[in-house]
Amino acid sequence: MPRFNPFGYNRDTIAITIPSVGYLAATGAVNLVLSKTLGYPCELERVDAVTTIVATTAGSRVVNVRKGTATGTIVGTITLALATQGTLGVVNAGTVTSAAGVNKFNGTDTLTVEFPTGTAFTAGGVDLILTFRILDQKDVV
């Protein structure tokens, strides 16, 4: 695990419940969060999807975490498939892109989470957990 360091990083998680209707039980491109301003610098460190409602039928949906709008730079991605969404509580770890610092957000960058087109499940539910690491910062100056 990361070692303790008084001048080191802290972590923050943003957990978002993804419903079936409109997302897993759909095929179209759709936004989960569009251009949310974080307001402070941080780095995306992990993307996890936890199954909260068992998925049915062999659907497949990709979840992209982007810096900017729905066409911004992909900083994290995860594929939701029947194999990983068929059992309650399963944690499906996604991939974070750290090359060239693309996973680093400054105070004015925005966060978007979106689903590109895919194959629909007939049901299912997921909690998406984004983990960010953050250095101590001054106030909102």
Binding site: A15, N31, E114, D136, Q137, K138, D139
Partner: protein, 142 residues
């Protein structure tokens, strides 16, 4: 943007899923979370409401309040949720934070309440994710 500082602030995000039934599909006062003790000192910095189920219902509108204390405590954040602005999945609706007189500053013994005010116009469907961002200083365990 905030500058880095070795003994400065950090952030935490508290996410709460708000279903339509009982909250948006209603005109009554309803608590989403009442008198939750945070247990550490924090300042409410941002309040964002994300549409996760499209809002339906002509004229649907509700006021969502964040309070320090119980359901009648000091107002420290508010957002008006309306079908007109909740008609598209993923839309982020920013609320307003009250900083006057330190209203947004929580001691470790303060409690947090999130509640829908009485009134407004009911939705027939809808769903939200509430994202509360707090800034926090490094603190001792106790």
């Amino acid at each position: 943007m905030p500058r880095f500082a070795p003994f400065g602030y950090n952030r935490i995000t508290l996410a709460i899923t708000i279903p339509g039934v009982g909250y948006l599909i209603s005109t009554s006062q309803a608590n989403v979370a009442v008198s939750k003790t945070l247990g550490f000192a924090a300042e409410l910095e941002k309040m964002d409401v994300v549409t996760t189920t499209v809002g339906v219902g002509a004229g649907g509108s509700r006021v969502l309040n964040v309070r320090k204390g119980n359901a009648t405590g000091t107002l420290c954040g508010t957002a008006t949720i309306a079908v007109a602005t909740q008609g598209t999945l993923g839309v982020v609706n920013a609320g307003t934070i009250t900083t006057a007189n330190g209203a947004n500053k929580f001691l470790d013994s303060d409690t947090l309440t999130v509640e829908f005010a009485t009134g407004g116009t009911t939705y027939s469907a809808g769903g939200l994710e509430l994202l509360l961002t707090f800034r926090v200083r490094n603190q001792n365990a106790y």
